[in-house]
């Protein structure tokens, strides 16, 4: 957190969200959204101190295997089955600045496309050595990495024959609660991405392409694991000089 400690305090409000870039709330191709989408206009206003602030998570909360999904649920001496991969990247804001100290939490299906969850009904087998969750915190330059196995695609009840492309869910905290984000990472070259009703809730192809991690050959570890690179961009914030002074500031 030293980089963050050396920075000037960040007290500017966040750039407005581009609501045409994100999926709208109502996307009938993804059926569950029909009854869960607000229908009235959002109340828009510039962020207050309740949104420009956010919780801080320290590196000390992390366990040794939190960023290793191959081993963090496995029995001693065993490991999860599947294609071994490293997922790494940076968390940046819309101004291109690194976001240090960002808590990332991720979850995914196993190599056969099965989640470890009591509501899951897919007939693919559970892997006794794979839990499916992990977390890490970005370093002073906004970098993160974790090890896992490549998740499998799986069918889901929406249309008669809808399948999810292989993906990893990400939950991200920035420095302000207004930056809170959940998204999904997809894998380069997967033809199923473009058939997925959840992917296609996003109208702008460039926004979808930003969710697809390329195979990162240079960072692949010989005889061990291939690397995929996934950068995440959070809302930027105005510098303090563009703000009205807050009381007591």
């Amino acid at each position: 957190m030293s980089d963050r400690a050396n920075r000037k305090p960040e007290t500017g409000a966040f750039f407005p969200r581009d609501r045409n870039w994100h999926a709208p709330a109502l996307t009938p191709g993804y059926k569950t959204s029909v009854l869960r989408s607000p229908q009235k206009a959002l109340l828009s206003l510039d962020g207050t101190i309740s949104e420009i602030t956010g919780p801080v998570f320290g590196h000390s909360m992390l366990g040794e295997l939190d960023n290793d999904l191959i081993h963090n649920f496995a029995k001693p001496g065993e490991s999860a089955i599947g294609e071994r991969i490293i997922v790494h990247g940076r968390v940046l804001d819309e101004r291109g600045r690194a976001v240090p100290g960002a808590l990332l939490e991720f979850w995914q299906a196993n190599a056969g496309g099965r989640y470890r969850h009591k509501k899951e009904s897919y007939l693919a087998a559970l892997d006794p050595n794979f839990g499916g969750c992990g977390r890490t915190i970005t370093d002073d330059d906004g970098f993160y990495s974790f090890r896992t196995i490549k998740p499998g695609p799986y069918p889901w009840p929406n249309g008669v024959n809808d399948w999810r492309p292989a993906h990893i869910h990400f939950s991200v905290f920035g420095h302000g609660f207004a930056q809170r984000l959940i998204t999904q990472m997809y894998f380069e070259g997967d033809p199923m991405i473009w058939k997925c009703p959840i992917v296609n809730t996003i109208a702008d192809r460039r926004a979808i392409e930003q969710l697809i991690a390329p195979l990162d050959w240079a960072n692949t570890i010989p005889m061990d694991a291939r690397a995929y690179k996934f950068d995440i961009v959070l809302r930027g914030r105005r510098s303090t000089m563009f703000e009205n002074r807050m009381e007591g500031n």
Binding site: P38, S44, S50, R135, I182, N249
Partner: protein, 204 residues
């Protein structure tokens, strides 16, 4: 041609999906042993200053059915109205209170519950006081981008009447969707995703 602004686009949101618990509350869904405890489940310790309260409620869909696969996070100031954040420039918040909580809605009843403290007043951008409030963020299967809203307190009628955000709500009967029911110390805040009682959600 002009110079490029050089800004990046925010990563697009995608739904948290039906298995959000695996990632964010693994112990809640039976994945034991990876983390000691789920994050955000314990907000208050014996040393935390302030009036103890509970905030419970449900997230309801357009038919009035509670979501049993939603996840709710809250963010709030401490009893003195200070946020435990590096962006808080007005003073040091209570070090025993992070101000952040996370709770999955119950698999049977759809209820969430937070044991927390009542937040103090915090100022709006122009210095006017905002009424005590708790920021809410809701994600679930079927919600494409997390929903922000606020809960205000039913026993703060005078402060609520002068609250700069509540004053911005054009259709005045909708202000009630942002005010909890119940009374101290147990407040109830139901969040309606759709319908006549649709909660006012914020683009903030």
């Amino acid at each position: 041609m002009v110079q490029a602004l050089g800004t990046l686009k925010e990563t697009a949101s995608q739904t948290a999906g039906p298995y959000v618990h695996i990632g964010l509350t693994p112990n809640f869904c039976g994945i034991d042993g990876v983390y000691d405890a789920d994050l955000g489940t314990k907000m208050v310790s014996e040393r935390t200053l302030g009036e103890r309260i509970t905030v419970s409620g449900r997230v309801l869909d357009g038919t009035g059915t509670p979501l049993r696969d939603a996840l709710v996070e809250i963010w709030q100031a401490d009893a003195a109205g200070l946020y435990n954040s590096p962006s808080e420039m007005r003073g040091a918040a209570d070090p025993t209170f992070s101000g952040w909580g996370r709770c999955a809605t119950g698999a049977e009843d759809g209820l969430f519950r937070f044991d927390t403290i009542k937040p103090g007043h915090v100022p709006f951008k122009d210095g006017r006081p905002m009424a005590p409030h708790i920021t809410f963020w809701i994600v679930a299967r079927g919600i494409n981008i997390g929903l922000h809203t606020r809960m205000y307190f039913p026993d703060e009628a005078e402060a609520n009447a002068a609250d700069p955000l509540l004053l911005r709500v054009e259709h005045r009967h909708r202000v009630a969707t942002l005010v909890a029911a119940g009374s101290a110390p147990n407040y109830i805040f139901d969040i309606h995703l759709q319908g006549e009682k649709e909660t006012v959600f914020l683009d903030i």
